[in-house]
Symmetry: C2
Amino acid sequence: MQPLKTGELAKRAGVNVETLRFYERKGLLPRPPQRESGYREYPQESVRLIRFIKRAQELGFSLKEIRELLTLKVQPGVTCADVRETTERKVADVRKKIRDLKAIERALQRLTVTCMGRGPLSECPILEHLEGEIL
Amino acid sequence: MQPLKTGELAKRAGVNVETLRFYERKGLLPRPPQRESGYREYPQESVRLIRFIKRAQELGFSLKEIRELLTLKVQPGVTCADVRETTERKVADVRKKIRDLKAIERALQRLTVTCMGRGPLSECPILEHLEGEIL
DNA sequence: CTTGACTCCGTACCAAGGTACGGACCGTAG
DNA sequence: CTACGGTCCGTACCTTGGTACGGAGTCAAG
């Protein structure tokens, strides 16, 4: 298995070359050995690393959190329980976001229910509510 | 009712002075008449306008969307139904966000369930999943 | 009339997660 | 050997919703 050049890694991992550079700057992707010319030579595992990042992102982890997860992985003495704890915190975050959005949904829903969609703008219950006339 | 100076409006509306300047730049808050000295003289209604913005924000509207709502209000021929439509689109957005977050929640929940929190990091099911080992 | 608080303006900065650009250099196919 | 595409680097730019700063000018209380 040959090392990968930046463009090859980007292609295999399904991201932009610029994104790789960005991840490197952010400390998510370690800088690989470089040739004399400066060309980076990524090991094959880098593809997995990028995919790890992308998966974690899909699960709602921020890049900062992902960097922490990656740091956990290489620190001695870190246990599975630490990773689990991070994940549980994230579940709690996500649940809070869901609760907040549901409150918003209910409020908006109440607004659309009060508005028949008829009548002039000056009597629109939605705008009235936003202006604080009612409630 | 005297006109309000920037600081007074900010105080009454519960926002920062800088925020008012920001809203003005963004086209949410029309630039009021100004004295010779440049001092702005806001009409009392501006307090309501800022509160409108803040309420709409709490309901998940972005500043851009709020600007559109405000534009709707002053355009002739716009009906209550237009406002209702905007609100309904927003409800749909919010519902989609909730669905997405629920999918994330389920996925994270599955991960924490598979992880007993014991054992070495090298066998952590959470990290394994993120790396694509399983599934 | 002085002085401290307020206001003006442009601009820079923050977070997050990238994308884009330009000039210089490299590498390889033809 | 040359030409084209890939890569390097630093930097600027984008979005969203603001916050902060600094110098100059202004207002109003004492």
